[in-house]
Symmetry: C2
């Protein structure tokens, strides 16, 4: 476990921050990164600082063109287009242009232990299809994503046989929520023999991080009343600004379709329907509008009903709470992969089996 | 993982409650239990209800005589003696008398996946020596303990080679603290790239649970100013009552030697010296005198310093917070053991490798 070589697909907010955070972690070496126009590979370890400078301003970009998806992905790659074709990985001294970035990473994957899929996932089947391509190439290793939507888990499960045959350990929903907070809920549940409710309530202040995380904001908008994935995907940047103005920069969400529900159910913690996710996003302040809290209510073996809580300090940014856990789950995935545990795993599956 | 057959050494408070809690968990079958005078084995599954009734009143009892330890263990087995030789496991319809309870369990261990060592550990080397005996018998499986003292971890590490050769996965410190709260600290640390301090502060109200947990109270007393392991071990029950009276039933502890420190350090979370454990024990009320809280202070990759917190509801009993996690870590141990991961593991080692 002392040396994990990993790749990042996508160099938007999440991909770039993960590269940055990995420099603080022992035993993690970034060996490949790509976006829609370029790929950089160095099995001895990428120069992360240089790559980060070169990709500054990438907005949730990813190699969607390579995927031959329909126009839906276009909005998410807009940011890159604004910077012109020379922005992103190709602008790095380590990068080279390519029309097939994902295939280029797959071609190097014999020497890659884990791949973080940091691509926008407004297309539900996008990540499952990326996983399929790795499986078709007989990749043996770990794939990690930070997807959010419950329904995607089922799409991955549908491909579990193929992933297992290839030798892939797929860790899904390994960001903040689902991810960090799903693990916290699994842990907090351990006082109880029966869990009645899990409430995940998040606060994000995203003033200075807004540009870097437009893809995430767009995805969140799809959870508002009167919106869905399709309408959010089709909104222009101007329409999004207008919506944000109407709410004075503060968007509140209830009963979001976040995969924490199915991921806790599959780990045996509670029923999916007893999990509720909501939160408040303020794009005009870096202060969190509310404190991120996981509350787990259950009954102990001796008949008491109570609520355990896990709270993140308001000063911890969304980025800090996505990327640290994502790399932790990535390492846990590698450990499982090396032990021969293949298939689809959620964050709670990687916790001690309470 | 669907069927874990486990044994419990010792049927004092922790052993009995673990048997009770296991009935609420899927895939766990209790197949053996022993105390100093008796052993019960049924590979088809013990009748836990009957065994619990028969062992009612056992006080932190364990098969110490079998270990040929010195007089130190005598105090901890006093409770059983008060009930006479027919109390405990021998009083159960499933039990039979024995002078070698641990050897009797070892003799059956081919069909046992995991063994919870729920014995009093005022003798520091007692648990390491039990582990040795399993290794000498070439046991391949999991040993779990709920020990507390930091120094015992080193004694286990000294035996790691022997444990590994035998095929033993030893999970140490898998109760509440260390254990549940160590895992919570490892999780809460994930927002940070540098952890500055971990503070574990517990509250226990132990009026109705006092009789069942005299061994634990005695061990806690050793942490008070002016006391140590030896003095606490040699105190008579009357002396303990006197001490408790002097404090009006409420004992407050600071800078306890709890293995959370070395267990967090070995998992790479922080330095042992930055971990502080304390708490308040009230033996005259079942209300917790203070709320059990884990506070992890650290710095994020983007330079903010903050504190994440994990709190247990005051209504959750010490027993609930020891036994649920102990069984969870036991399952995690089995998963690791089946994957060929042998040696000594702490709770934080079993968390995703952040």
């Amino acid at each position: 476990m002392d040396d994990v070589r990993f790749a990042v697909l996508g160099t938007g907010g999440i991909g770039r921050r993960t590269l940055e955070v990995s420099q603080h972690k022992d035993g993690l070496t970034a060996v490949a990164a790509c976006d829609r126009n370029g790929v950089a590979v160095d099995h001895g370890g990428l120069d992360v600082e240089e790559l980060l400078e070169a990709t500054e301003g990438n907005i949730a970009s990813g190699p969607q063109d390579d995927m031959a998806t329909d126009g839906g992905a276009a909005a998410a790659t807009e940011g890159v287009k604004q910077h012109g074709d020379q922005a992103g990985v190709v602008a790095s001294e380590q990068g080279r242009p390519t029309e097939t970035p994902i295939d280029d990473v797959i071609a190097e994957s014999d020497a890659i232990d884990a791949v973080l899929i940091a691509l926008p996932n407004l297309e539900h089947d996008f990540i499952p299809r990326v996983a399929e391509r790795f499986a078709e190439a007989d990749y043996e290793g770990v794939l990690v994503d930070v997807l959010k939507r419950s329904r995607v888990i089922g799409m991955l499960d549908d491909r579990e046989e193929q992933l297992t045959e290839s030798g892939i350990t797929f860790v899904c929903g390994a960001g903040a929520t689902p991810g960090f907070l799903t693990g916290a809920a699994a842990l907090a549940a351990q006082s109880f023999v029966e869990v009645e409710e899990v409430e995940i309530w998040w606060g994000v202040g995203l003033k200075s991080g807004y540009e870097d995380n437009r893809g995430t904001v767009r995805e969140d908008i799809a959870h508002l009343d009167g919106y869905d994935i399709e309408t959010a995907r089709e909104m222009s940047e101007a329409e999004i600004e207008e919506l944000i103005d109407e709410h004075d920069g503060v968007l509140e969400f209830h009963d979001m379709e976040h995969a924490d529900d199915v991921l806790l159910e599959r780990a045996g913690i509670c029923d999916a329907e007893d999990v509720h996710v909501g939160g408040v996003l303020d794009v005009r302040s870096d202060e969190k509008p509310t404190t991120t809290t996981v509350s787990v209510t259950g009954t102990t073996f001796d008949g008491e009903t109570g609520t355990n809580t896990f709270q993140l300090d308001d000063v911890t940014s969304m980025e800090a709470n996505v990327n640290g856990p994502a790399l932790g789950y990535l390492k846990a995935g590698v450990r499982n992969n090396r032990a021969g545990h293949y298939g689809v795993f959620g964050p709670a599956d990687l916790m001690p089996r309470f």
